[in-house]
């Protein structure tokens, strides 16, 4: 006969996330030279099944770029896709197992204040879609 036990202090193990979200700095050349403060978001399907993401504006409409100022305040607002026009029908981003999707982003895309005051900022990408919540390591940017 099996016996169920409860152990104090043990936390339930969170189900593994099917997506990895990565953020890194990237040098992007515009037609008038380097574009400052650019980065790259990468989504990778870590699961053994395809991941499908329905979107109306951009595949990154579920992306938060959380920007923390030098004094520890979060100075970003909203989603990355808030400024994009919507489509009538959803578009589909389908990632096969192991497949990666990368897009260039401006690291201060969700900071309403322009210009961004000088200082050292911490930026983290969080991608939330239905039950998926994937978070990147943080990136440091000094202006």
């Amino acid at each position: 006969m099996s016996e169920a036990r409860t152990f104090r202090g043990l936390q339930p193990v969170a189900p593994s996330q099917p997506l990895a979200c990565r953020l890194r700095r990237k040098e992007v050349m515009g037609r008038q030279g380097p574009v400052p403060n650019m980065g790259e978001v990468e989504l990778e399907n870590l699961s053994a099944a395809p991941v499908e993401i329905a979107y109306w504006m951009t595949a990154l409409q579920y992306l938060h770029l959380i920007v923390t100022s030098p004094d520890g305040r979060i100075v970003s607002e909203g989603h990355f896709g808030d400024r994009f026009a919507p489509t009538k029908e959803p578009l589909l981003l389908r990632l096969e197992p192991g497949e990666k999707f990368t897009v260039n982003v401006h690291l201060f895309a969700t900071v309403p204040q322009t210009p961004v005051p000088p200082g050292s900022y911490t930026i983290r990408a969080v991608y939330e879609y239905k039950s998926i919540r994937a978070m990147s390591e943080s990136v440091q940017v000094t202006i």
């Binding site: 400024r83 578009l91 897009v103």
Partner: protein, 138 residues
């Protein structure tokens, strides 16, 4: 969502907010904000492309663009995530592209209309990249 018929006879779907006042960038660019009964905005993608194919021609090279021409951005999945109206094209001698100093009237998402430089729209924090095309009304 409502369906409207263009003067060319083609039908497209447009967005109309409950308050009849809100519109997004394509409502500004294609004049839907002045629609009778309340502002409308063509949807990104197929609906905007139908307007372009039947009522606009590409301006190529873009350096010959004039005030009133429009810029339409393309997305990865066939969408047209942004558009804006060129109000003051700036040309540099010897260059074949619009200068970043060119001015456009733009409505970025829920923000109010504003005059922005091309640089702000292609390389600034709230930008859409350089994947735009210039069009002129036929």
């Amino acid at each position: 969502m409502i369906e409207v018929e263009l003067t060319s006879g083609h039908k497209i779907n447009v967005f109309r907010a409950d308050d009849g006042e809100f519109y997004f960038c394509h409502g500004l660019t294609f004049g839907g904000k002045e629609a009778p009964g309340g502002a409308v905005s063509p949807f990104s993608g197929e609906d905007v492309l139908t307007i372009l194919e039947n009522h606009y021609e590409r301006v190529d090279p873009e350096v010959v663009a004039v005030a009133g021409d429009i810029l339409v951005w393309r997305g990865l999945g066939g969408e047209t995530p942004h558009s804006a109206i060129l109000t003051n094209p700036v040309i540099r001698v010897g260059e074949n592209l619009l200068s970043y100093d060119s001015l456009l009237r733009s409505k970025n998402g829920t923000l109010p209309e504003a005059i922005l430089t091309l640089e702000q729209l292609v390389a600034g924090p709230q930008s859409y990249g350089e994947s735009y095309t210039v069009y002129r009304r036929r």
